[in-house]
Amino acid sequence: MWSVKFRNVGSVVLLGILTAGLALALEPGDTLPKWGDFELEGKVPDLEGKVVMVDVWASWCAPCKASFPAYAKLQQEWADQGFVILGISVDKKSKDYARFLKQTPPGFSTVRDVSQKLAATLKPPAMPTSFIFGRDGKLRKVHKGYRGDRTVELLRSEIEPLLAESP
């Protein structure tokens, strides 16, 4: 009896050890987070019925900085079709965030995830990560990292069909 109990406890302990630290990212079909549940610095624009790309970035992340001009161009190109990019900065310090924005204005709306709770919910698997949501607010695609033109082409091929969907 004790042996069976011991085995159960042992299994639970081992499972706990092996799965500790595993983080599951947001998956396709999941809905946009409720922004009000998180402590954000900055204003979230109106995203209702729009195709939204949530881009998780930080001032210390060089590929994030490299991606901004291309993303700003996409935002500009499709703004009238209802495409919005929302940057989520995971900078711990407000002054790092402010200094970066002053030096490198991203060209799209961005907010800072003050307590990093939003990041812990989105669980981006890399920096930067782009989460693309359809007009229905459901997650369609997740992009890890930024690889220049290759990423932009991929984003184009994925976002264009979403823009064609009816609100």
Partner: protein, 74 residues
Amino acid sequence: MIKRQRFLLLFLAAVALVFSGCQNVQPWEKGLLADYTMRADRDAMHDAMSEHIYFSREASSGGRGVGASGCGCN
């Protein structure tokens, strides 16, 4: 038999204790590693003192960070 089980339980507890010290740094937390305070060369005075201790102990003045082969002939 019970002795063996106790040993296993202790072993598992020890393993759990060791692994609880491990922490994954998530991608969004890596700014901590990029912080200025994480730089090894952030304190010039500390570097100079470490260098002084190094060459005093090793009798190798200029043995680190100075060009040439180390033959002492120039």
